[in-house]
């Protein structure tokens, strides 16, 4: 099954804030990938960390905001270009955060172009 993905935004306390998935499993992998995301975060200068980890058929891409929110994307096709969509998500995220009505646990982003 290709084209599956699982997207999660992880908050400061390592809690999932927003989840979106097009596959049944793999969440454990996303959680476990936080170790490497946190490690890479300090090694690289970019916010987009590209593929931080690989578990068998799964690729894990990550994006870290300056506020230490982590966007984790689990996908089964290697595509660095496709993942550039993080910028779009980041855009939406920033708009939402700057909205004074922002509510952390209800934070919802429409991701249309996946």
């Amino acid at each position: 099954m290709s084209g599956s993905f699982y997207f999660v935004i992880v908050g400061y306390r390592d809690n999932p804030v927003f989840e979106m998935k097009v596959l049944p499993a793999g969440k454990f992998i996303a959680h476990a990938a936080l170790d490497l995301t946190d490690e890479n975060m300090w090694l690289l200068n970019n916010m987009f960390l590209k593929t931080v980890d690989k578990f068998n058929e799964w690729f894990v891409s990550a994006h870290v905001t300056t506020g230490h929110m982590r966007f984790i994307m689990l996908h089964d096709i290697r595509q660095e270009d496709g993942i550039k969509n993080f910028t779009d998500v980041y855009d939406l995220y920033m708009k939402t955060v700057h909205n004074i009505w922002w509510v952390l646990h209800q934070f919802y982003v429409q991701v249309s172009n996946f």
Binding site: N15, L34, L36
Partner: protein, 1133 residues
């Protein structure tokens, strides 16, 4: 674990070392030989040359050498590498055979011995026929050899012996059996090592020489084989660089082979071997990145080469082994000093190995699910004649067959069946768990906690599959809290589901209940139908029945579990389970909230317990009790099911004891606090909610404090931040999120209903008995008893104030130091409603400044709360700040008898002391009396009686007194002479008769006393009149005990004529007085300057006219001449 088919052979994994055999040593019976052997093999440290030694008899048969092939033209190889080859060169075919022989140079029977030695060498040579193995001879000698060249016999005989044995001089050694055995041995083995290297070098050359005979079509396998051999010999030669180079070539050659289903296992096996060697050497050369790169390339090459679909589990097993072996190599390198990092450590390889082991298990499960009736084939197709395979990676039933077509499909089928049936017996879980736990250890070491948790979940699941439920639960339970604390609810749910299965299968009641509670809770992401099923099971368990089995459990295990559950039921007793909920997220939420942060003791304490169930169906509870820090209140806060089981089904959805999903249930509790708890905090220490009852099973959910579980603190935080508008609810309902836990309250005393007034006239005057009138009036409806007053300086101020403030109830006597600053608990008796009483207090303040005074009235009153009579202690306090000031300012000054200000006084000459009392009090003061107490050094000139008795001073008014004093000569006193004290007795004019007067003592200043040699004073009238004689007499007193020469002159003045001595010089005896008489005749009216007297003392040049002017007048008022006629005319007019 015994080695499996997939484990690498030992000879592959060991470090190859040159093989040298030692013959002619009798290590069992000959002590010398034993010592020699020990020196070779015991305690071999890393700095010794890498040789593996073996003792063999002189006539040992070495493996036969096959005849040299002259042409490869018709030769077709049957496989890549023979299974025995590595072992043969490591342990069977030596690089060098050493013949030990005991022979001294001065041996008498030299000839015989020499030929015996030659025979031995010959025997060895024969058994090595056709091999390039070197032979060396070591002579064990008893005597220490002479230095080379000195022993002529020795060199002769050595040459002879070499000839006889056909040895070169380099292959003959002497080993003197003396003290320095180890030293000789080390030199020997270094020589052996050189020979061995030469041997392996020639072997490499020999293998290389075959190359030119090979062709690419038929000898592809040989290319790999030869390359591998060259690399292996290089390793034996300890030339690891070349070994690595050749292994790399061999690796590339393996992948050039034509792969087919029939030989793919062989290719993979060899590729695996060579890859292992390459990675091992890379780590050895400290180039770990090369090792990792090679391994990645290897995996990329091979992972798609699955081979036969029916045996695909073999591929998974092979993959798993590749990763595991690499992990081991990596780990070993780290132990030798390599540094690994979070992102690159052996854990990842073990994890992959585990992954493939899991895949192997899955594949085996689908491919090997033969009926029980399928028998293992006979004869065993996996058996070979020798018991081992000829070539690595070949199938036993078609060894050496190179054809890609299957010659015998039937045989193939049987073979595959045999492998499948064997696979069925493999304990996969055990392997998976071992690999996972290896990985866990690594991730723990490299600080990847979540990776570790993930693997532990997998381990737990694997234990579950392996039916080791206890271990599974232990692991799952351990990781659960990590996922819970980070709020990954879906992951938590998944773990809980497995844990629930485990606890079901073991019939672990408490665990089963705990997991059910959480799976029904809000943290669970299960669908409603699942929750519904779990809730049903939970209710069954509470009713002392067996739950239904969990889905997807092993049928056999379920059968066992059902029996266990049945046994559990028949057991009586210990059916109450208390579960502390703060560490997880149960399906009932609880919040306790006191109505107020504090309660007066005369009103009942009220609080609400809010309960909310998150399960799909309503649930009943049997008991709710609240515990407090003061356990006496516990009894008042219990709700218990009144009806017994019979009525349970009725009112299921009504009544207090039923929780409806999603609805917040509020339970109000009320109790009366104890009067002795006034001022204390009442705290809810725990809330216990019992589900089920003691007839069946009972679960007590125990919340610490005022409720809340593992998830609620975070939820509270989010609720606090949330701007979300909550939908409006009916009045009697509340939003769960908006309830804030309030688990403690203060008990405070009853509100007093009396008034306390203070009457006084501030400010207070220093040291006076300041009167403070306290009025207490009761506004209570009933009589108040035991009214007590505490009054005085409020504690907690400057400590010095306490020393200088005194309070008394009796104003008629002055209080002293012994009186306290605060009077406590002065009984005032009882008061009827509306009655009032007054109490006077007197305060004496010894210092100025402001003070806070406290007036505190307490009393007892009987009151009723919730039909309960209690005695309340009430109190009311008032504070007042009172300023203390000096009543008056006293100024003192010294003046001369001419009222001129004096800075110093002159001995024996009278002067005036003037006091000036200025009232600073806003209230009128009465000076009762004043008194001057002179110091002994002072004497008075006239009476010292008070001139200000009973003078009343209003604010700003002052009273002055004047005393004439004299100070007898005392000589020169440093700092002046004490004058004495001035004492003023006073009181407020408004004060009552019986109030004592206050004496204020003022210490008078010291005065500097000076002696003068000559005192002059003048006698003259108070005024003169124009043209009337004005007699003036000057008295000159000699105050010294010397005879003084005095020059006196009088300067004329325009306003006067005068008669008398104008200029004179005279002598005055000590203590004597001289009078000078003058008659002045005023010429002008008005205030006129007198003719000035000028005195010059010859002995005291300091005595100036300036000083003189202090004592004698310089001017006088002259009245105009009276006109008698005019006077009469005026009178006439």
């Amino acid at each position: 674990m015994s080695p499996t088919q997939w484990d690498f052979p030992v000879e592959l994994c060991c470090r190859p070392m040159a093989f040298v055999t030692l013959t002619g040593l009798d290590v069992v019976f000959n002590a010398v030989h034993r010592a020699v052997w020990d020196a070779f093999c015991a305690n071999r440290r890393a700095d010794r040359v890498p040789i593996s030694f073996k003792v063999l008899p002189g006539d040992h048969e070495y493996p036969k050498c096959r005849p040299k092939r002259t042409s490869y033209e018709w030769y077709i190889p049957k496989g890549i590498l023979k299974t025995g080859w590595m072992n043969k060169h490591l342990n069977l075919v030596p690089a060098l055979v050493v013949v030990f022989y005991e022979l001294d140079w001065d041996e008498p029977q030299w000839k015989e011995k020499q030929s015996e030695c030659a025979t031995r060498v010959e025997i060895v040579r024969q058994s090595l026929q056709g091999r390039n193995t070197k032979v060396a001879v070591v002579l064990i000698q008893k005597k220490t050899p002479l230095p080379p060249g000195e022993d002529v016999i020795a060199s002769e005989r050595a040459a002879a012996l070499c000839d006889a044995c056909e040895l070169s001089g380099k292959s003959l050694f002497v080993l003197p059996h003396t003290d320095h055995l180890v030293g000789y041995i080390i030199r020997l083995e270094n020589a052996f090592y050189e020979h061995a290297q030469t041997y392996y070098y020639t072997e490499i050359r020999r293998v290389k020489s075959h190359k030119e005979f090979l062709n690419k079509t038929t000898h592809q396998l040989l290319f790999v084989r030869h390359q591998f051999k060259i690399a292996f010999f290089s390793e034996l030669k300890q030339d690891t660089q070349n070994a690595l180079k050749n292994y790399r070539t061999a690796y590339n050659l393996v992948h050039e082979l034509r792969a087919h289903e029939t030989n793919i296992l062989e290719i993979k096996t060899m590729a695996g071997f060579i890859n292992y060697k390459i990675c091992r050497l890379c780590f050895q050369h400290n180039t770990p990145l090369d090792a990792i790169a090679q391994f990645r390339k290897h995996i990329d090459f091979c992972k798609k080469k699955i081979g036969s679909a029916e045996l695909s589990f073999e591929h998974a097993a092979w993959m798993s082994k590749q990763f595991q072996a690499f992990g081991d190599l990596f780990d070993e390198a780290i132990k030798l000093g390599l540094t690994a990092i979070q992102t690159q450590n052996p854990g990842f390889y073990y994890q992959q190995a585990a992954y493939y082991a899991q895949e192997r298990k899955q594949l085996a499960k689908t491919l090997c699910n033969h009926e029980a009736s399928v028998m293992y084939p006979n004869p065993d197709p996996l058996e070979t004649q020798t018991g081992v395979l000829d070539f690595y990676g070949q199938r036993s039933w078609r060894q050496g067959i190179l054809s890609f077509d299957l010659s015998d499909p039937e045989k193939e089928k049987v073979g595959i069946l045999a492998i499948q049936l064997k696979e069925r017996n493999v304990v996969h879980s055990e392997m998976i768990i071992t690999l996972l736990s290896n990985a866990v250890a690594q991730f723990k070491k490299y600080k990847c906690p979540r990776m570790k948790s993930h693997l532990m979940v997998q381990m737990g699941e694997e234990y579950y599959y392996a039916k080791d439920y206890t271990k599974a639960l232990k692991l799952l339970d351990y990781v659960m809290c990590d996922y819970r604390s980070e709020g990954w609810w879906t992951l938590l749910t998944s773990i809980l589901t497995t844990a629930l299965k485990c606890s079901y299968l073991m019939a672990q009641l408490k665990d089963y209940i705990t997991y059910s509670l959480e799976l029904l809770g809000r943290a669970s992401t299960l669908k409603d139908d699942q929750k519904s099923r779990i809730e049903k099971n939970l209710i069954n368990v509470l009713m002392n029945e067996s739950p239904d089995p969990e889905p997807d459990c092993d049928i056999l295990a379920v059968k066992t579990a059902q029996k266990l559950w049945a046994d559990r039921i028949s057991l009586a007793g210990s059916n109450i389970f208390t579960i502390a909920v703060q560490d997880f997220v149960p399906f009932v939420q609880c919040k306790a909230k006191f109505h107020a942060p504090s309660f007066h003791v005369d009103v009942p304490i009220q609080f609400d317990i809010y309960l909310k169930a998150d399960c799909p169906h309503p649930i009943r509870f049997s008991k709710l009790c609240v515990s407090f820090n003061n356990q006496e209140y516990n009894q008042f806060c219990v709700i218990e099911e009144a009806s017994k089981a019979s009525e349970v089904l009725e009112n299921l959805t009504q009544g207090k004891m039923c929780l409806v999903p999603g609805k917040t249930r509020k339970l109000l509790f009320k109790f009366v606090a104890k009067t002795e708890d006034v001022g204390k905090k009442i705290e809810i220490t725990s809330v216990d909610l019992a589900l089920g009852n003691e007839m069946g099973r009972c679960v007590v959910l125990n919340w610490q404090g005022g409720g809340g579980d593992a998830a609620s603190s975070q939820e509270a935080l989010q609720a606090a931040r949330s701007f979300k508008r909550r939908p409006k609810l009916p009045d009697n309902e509340v939003h769960w999120d908006s309830i804030i836990i309030q688990a403690s309250t203060m008990i405070i005393s009853r509100v007093p209903n009396i008034s306390v007034h203070l009457r006084h006239e501030p400010p207070a005057l220093t040291n006076e008995m300041y009167c403070l009138v306290v009025t207490v009036e009761s506004h209570e409806k009933t009589e108040i008893r035991d009214v007590k007053l505490t009054a005085g300086l409020k504690p907690g101020q400057d400590a010095n104030l306490t020393q200088k403030t005194h309070v008394t109830l009796h104003g008629t006597e002055l209080c002293d130091e012994s009186y306290p600053a605060l009077l406590t608990d002065i009984p005032l008796g009882d008061l009827h409603p509306g009655e009032q009483l007054e109490k006077m207090l007197y305060v004496r303040c010894g210092t100025v400044g402001s003070r806070m005074f406290l007036v505190y009235v307490s009393y007892l009153i009987n009151t009723t709360v919730e039909e309960k009579e209690i005695v309340c202690k009430c109190h009311k306090d008032e504070t007042v700040t009172i300023e203390t000031v000096f009543p008056f300012d006293v100024a003192v000054k010294f003046v001369s008898t001419k009222f001129e200000h004096l800075e110093r006084v002159y001995a024996d000459i009278p002067f005036l002391l003037m006091t000036d009392v200025l009232s600073a009090s806003p209230w009128a003061l009465t000076i009762v009396s004043s008194e001057l107490q002179l110091a002994p050094s002072m004497t008075t000139v006239d009476q010292l009686e008070s001139q200000v008795d009973n003078v009343v001073l209003q604010t700003g008014e002052s009273a002055s007194e004047c005393f004439c004093l004299r100070c007898p000569s005392l000589g020169n006193v440093e700092g002046g002479v004490a004058t004495g004290h001035y004492i003023i007795s006073w009181k407020r004019t408004s004060a009552m008769e019986n109030i004592p007067t206050i004496s204020t003592v003022i210490t008078l200043p010291h005065v500097i006393v000076e002696t003068i040699p000559l005192h002059v004073n003048a006698d003259l009238p108070s005024f003169g009149r124009v043209r009337e004689s004005l007699p003036v007499k000057y008295h000159l007193q000699n105050k010294t005990n010397l005879v003084q020469d005095v020059e006196i002159s009088v300067e004329p003045s325009d306003a006067f004529m005068f008669s008398g001595l104008k200029q004179i010089r005279l002598r005055i005896l000590p203590g004597a007085e001289q009078e000078m008489l003058y008659n002045f005749y005023p010429l002008m009216a008005g205030y006129q300057q007198l003719p000035s007297l000028s005195i010059n003392l010859l002995r005291f040049p300091n005595f100036t006219n300036q000083l003189l002017r202090r004592f004698i007048p310089t001017s006088i008022f002259v009245k105009p001449q009276g006109r008698l006629m005019d006077d009469t005319s005026i009178a006439a007019a």
